[in-house]
């Protein structure tokens, strides 16, 4: 999402940051609280990801010499050994090996441990020069033919290190009931210190490293390394496997296929080259299969499907790498509905539709980096819009959108996908979304203008940000004041939006059973407080076969 999505453009935010620069010193002196700082070789923790029934990705980064700091391009080629075991004491090691790494891959280690049992908890660690990393815990996916009673995921997005502490990660890491964490994008941010921080004044709770916008490969590597030294993020990575996708900030703000709002070719060079560098660093530093493998240099396609028995499958989308450029604002020419424009790209759309048609599991979860529910002012019936367009061609098909960076800016793709669900009788599709720093629960109508007379084809749960600014932060008003009116206005004109919280930061927990899929929304206290507490605020669920959300009295129990 644009960091300034709600009301402010980039220039005014930068101005505001400069005005608040005096507050920066507050954050500079605070440590990263790096849990592995005492470990000379494994300073960036351990991680696992993309669990399959018989394999999982294991990740770490080794620092073999003091000079071999991230992004430096320095340091020798070294051998790192790894082990994965059924028990925390490693008395029952089921697989082990050696991995060669060096400066060409920023000394990252990323491998696929195979030969594992389905839906089984494992422990893993790395060794270098006689020193062990911290022990990580992970869990494989259920067998394809099994029918698990439930699945439970942490759901997070939008973690801006400058805007605060990652308490949301810490509270998720305390849980012992998660199968995985779904990270829906904006895992890290590209901005320089002072450009995008805490609140409207852009106070940097913790300034970014390097102290500039990340553009070069070394910049991206250093920034990944900084985030991976956060103790809360390290704790969560070490506790459960991550299933990630990226949004825009993993490269730069409002990215599209051939450019981005926050990229100036005149001063920052080729956009394609910058994207390659960002994706390279991401492939090195994240426990995910890019190009469907753990290898580097074999493609960076990130959209992929993970299966969890007959209960659910999960399609993770990449809505940045293939999309057409966002339409200009204000919108007056109906361009958001141009069928030649795409948010998925044709290949990914074909793959997604094919995946949904295969009917491999009851729940069709979709990791969706930007919101798909129409949010418009006002929504009009499609027929009315079509009639107006016959004459004027002025109106986008789903009404006037407030955010053309999400699916609202690409309504032809949304229509194609929703129609596919209806045409093929695909029920129980649930979009899991990040990006917009707020919590939502929505029905997804085939025609927003006639809803609820016409029917819903799927549902969407949107998690709020870990730290990135939301509406109250931007308006600089107290929580639950001005936002209430905005929320009410949106829900009045968008009858499919059932829950909306513009004010809080935190995380969500998604629990999936055959009867229903439920999203629990948890919020944290002040993100400037490294010891922020967490509390439950709302729960919404969709019962099987209903394609509608409803409120639930309380969260699932651990």
């Amino acid at each position: 999402m644009k960091r300034d999505e709600m009301t402010l453009d980039r220039r005014s935010l930068l101005t505001a940051s400069a005005a608040g620069a005096g507050a920066l010193a507050l954050g500079v002196s605070l440590p990263e609280r790096a849990g592995a700082a005492a470990n000379p070789y494994f300073q960036h923790g351990v991680a696992s990801g993309d669990p399959h029934p018989h394999s999982v990705i294991l990740w770490t980064r080794v620092t073999p010499t003091t000079a071999a700091v991230p992004g430096s391009g320095r340091g020798p080629v070294v051998q790192v050994t790894w082990q994965i075991a059924r028990d925390r004491r490693f008395s029952n090691v089921v697989s082990k090996g050696t991995f060669a790494t060096g400066a060409t891959r920023d000394h990252t280690v990323k491998l696929e441990a195979t030969g594992l049992r389905p839906r089984t908890t494992y422990f893993y660690r790395f060794h270098y020069n006689g020193v062990a990393s911290r022990t990580g815990q992970t869990k494989t996916a259920p067998a394809y033919t099994s029918s698990p009673d439930n699945l439970r995921f942490g759901v997070v997005s939008c973690a801006n290190l400058q805007a605060g502490w990652f308490s949301a990660y810490r509270h998720l890491a305390k849980r012992n009931d998660l199968d995985a964490v779904l990270h829906l994008g904006d895992y890290l941010y590209e901005y320089a210190p002072g450009e995008y921080g805490y609140g409207n004044a852009n106070k940097d709770i913790r300034p970014h490293v390097p102290k500039k916008e990340m553009v070069a490969l070394g910049d991206y590597r250093k920034r990944h390394a900084q985030y991976k030294q956060d103790a809360d993020l390290q704790a969560l990575h070490a506790k459960v496997p991550f299933i990630v996708t990226w949004d825009d900030h993993e490269v730069t703000n409002d990215e599209w296929k051939n450019g981005a709002e926050n990229h100036d070719p005149a001063t920052e060079g080729s956009y394609a080259a910058r994207k390659r560098r960002a994706h390279r660093a991401y492939d090195e530093w994240m426990p995910a299969r890019l190009g469907d493998t753990v290898a580097l240099n074999d493609g960076t396609a990130l959209f992929r499907n993970l299966r969890f028995g007959t209960l659910a499958d999960l399609s993770m989308l990449d809505l940045r790498s293939y999309r057409s450029e966002q339409v200009a604002v204000p919108i007056a020419d109906g361009a958001v509905s141009d069928p030649a424009r795409t948010i998925t790209g044709n290949g990914q759309m074909r793959w997604l539709k094919d995946t949904l048609s295969k009917d491999r599991a009851q729940w069709r979860l979709i990791g969706n980096p930007v919101m798909i529910a129409p949010v418009v002012f006002p929504p009009l019936p499609n027929d009315v819009t079509s009639a107006v367009n016959d004459v004027t061609g002025l109106l986008p098909e789903d009404g006037s959108p407030y955010n053309v960076d999400q699916w609202d800016g690409y309504t032809a793709d949304r229509h194609e996908l929703f129609a596919h669900l209806a045409d093929h009788g695909v029920n129980n599709t649930v979009f899991l979304t990040g990006d917009i720093h707020s919590g939502w629960a929505c029905d997804l109508p085939l025609d927003a203008g006639t809803y609820p007379v016409t029917r819903s084809v799927a549902t969407e749960f949107v998690c709020t940000s870990v730290t990135s600014n939301n509406l109250k932060d931007i308006t600089n008003n107290p929580s639950r004041t001005t936002s209430l009116a905005v929320e009410a206005g949106i829900q009045t004109t968008n009858r499919h939006v059932k829950y909306l919280n513009f004010d809080d930061h935190g995380y969500s927990v998604l629990d999936v059973t055959s009867k229903r899929t439920q999203m629990d929304y948890f919020v944290i206290t002040d993100r400037a407080d490294p010891k922020a507490t967490s509390s439950w605020t709302a729960s919404w669920a969709t019962d099987a076969d209903t394609q509608q959300v409803h409120a639930v009295d309380g969260p699932v129990t651990r």
Partner: protein, 415 residues
């Protein structure tokens, strides 16, 4: 055709003074004693019900059955998503390429006519209705639609001869159907009773009365729920419930098409020099079965051309080789599906005035749940495995310890 001379009839009286006509083979006992140990299974088909309607608040009795038993929210109807083939799949446990019943309507090449598959001789595979009898059990059919009564013929031990029949819809209203089902249980107490309740489906199809579709549909939902409630009450009041398995499902779902979203393929075929006059269409709501009737030597080219024209027609979702859908030879050369919200109307745009529609993939999701007091029914559970109409026969077979048919089932027991 039925042999009237080898059937015996009984007109059973109900408490309200109405009478119900049942038939059976000559010599069949017309009543059996109810014992608490007797195993029983009931298959109740809520014709054309959508899975979301069960929890809509208008079907509390069905919802209670669903929530108290084994629910299969991922259940699907199978091609062609029409009444006759899916009822046949329920009772045979095999797909149409083995049963010979791929659709409601086919083009019969031998008779050179488009007709319903409503003859007993159309069904080529044994059903559990007669296989259970071979093992000493009794079975009964209470089928509200004339063509269902037709194709299942005299396979069950006891058959209700549906009446009265609504002229436009060709079905008997649910209240009469359930009266007959209750009467059959009380009079004959078969081990298996197969019931089709047609109101839900028929109000969609026959909405020509000036009432709104939504109101008529809601009324049907409430009605069928009430009738199913009566049946459950009977089982519980008579002590049968504890040894009963009650399977509730739909044969297909329901979609509603818009008046301006009609697909007529016949004019397009007739306008093509190669195809003119040489393509027959068997219309099955949201699916058209397409038959090349010209020279067999030109079939390959002709089928290619039929596919091209059908696929390019607005509203057509997809075109399939019937073998890919396991439909068998009687389904013709190609199957065309429509998109949600559309319907086929052949040979002319005004030929099909019915908005309620099924047969296409949009109408695959169905309710499917198993209740009853039988020990094999796991209480209040929901299951993420795929359940299909073809699973009913194996499920019934499991209740009664029936061996698999020759070649095995295509479905799986869901108990």
């Amino acid at each position: 055709m039925m042999d009237m001379n080898r059937r015996s009839f009984i007109r059973a009286g109900a408490a309200g003074g109405a009478t119900y006509l049942f038939s059976s083979a000559l010599g069949t006992p017309m009543a059996t004693g109810a014992t608490s140990e007797k195993q029983r299974a009931y298959v109740l088909v809520v014709d054309g019900c959508r899975p979301d309607e069960i929890g809509s608040g208008m079907m509390p009795r069905l919802q209670a059955l669903r929530d108290g038993g084994m629910n299969y929210p991922r259940a699907r109807s199978l091609p062609i998503m029409e009444t006759i083939p899916n009822h046949v799949m329920m009772m045979t446990g095999v797909r149409p390429d083995r049963s010979g019943v791929p659709a409601n309507s086919i083009y019969d090449r031998g008779e050179n006519v488009v007709r319903d598959l409503d003859r007993p001789s159309d069904l080529h595979f044994p059903t559990v209705l007669e296989r259970l009898q071979d093992k000493g059990f009794t079975t009964g059919t209470v089928l509200s639609k004339e063509y269902l009564f037709g194709i299942f013929g005299q396979r069950a031990t006891y058959r209700w001869e549906p009446e009265p029949i609504v002229p436009v819809s060709g079905h008997s209203p649910d209240q009469f159907t359930m009266d007959a089902a209750i009467e059959m249980v009380e009079q004959f107490d078969p081990n298996l009773v197969f019931v089709n309740l047609g109101d839900c489906d028929r109000v969609g199809h026959a909405d020509l009365t000036g009432t709104t579709l939504a109101v008529a549909r809601r009324t049907a939902l409430v009605t069928v729920d009430t009738q199913v409630g009566r049946f459950v009450d009977l089982l519980k009041e008579t002590g049968r419930w504890e040894n009963s398995v009650v399977v509730v499902l739909a044969d297909h779902s329901m979609d509603w098409s818009r008046p301006d979203r009609l697909i007529s393929l016949q004019p397009a075929f007739d306008a093509d020099p190669m195809l003119a006059g040489k393509v027959q269409i068997a219309q099955n709501g949201g699916a058209d079965l397409l038959y090349w009737t010209g020279s067999p030597d030109r079939r390959t080219d002709a089928v290619k051309r039929i596919r091209e024209i059908a696929a390019a027609t607005p509203g057509v979702l997809s075109v399939h080789d019937p073998a890919d859908l396991r439909l068998g030879a009687r389904a013709g050369d190609l199957v065309a599906y429509c998109k949600a919200g559309w319907r086929f109307s052949d040979p002319r745009p005004y030929s099909n005035p019915i908005p309620g529609n099924h047969g296409h993939p949009a109408t695959q999701p169905i309710p499917f749940f198993i209740s009853g007091g039988h020990g094999s029914v796991r209480r209040a559970t929901s299951h993420s495995v795929l359940a299909q109409t073809v699973d009913v026969a194996p499920t019934i077979g499991k209740v009664f310890g029936l061996t698999d048919p020759t070649g095995g089932y295509d479905g799986r027991a869901r108990l």
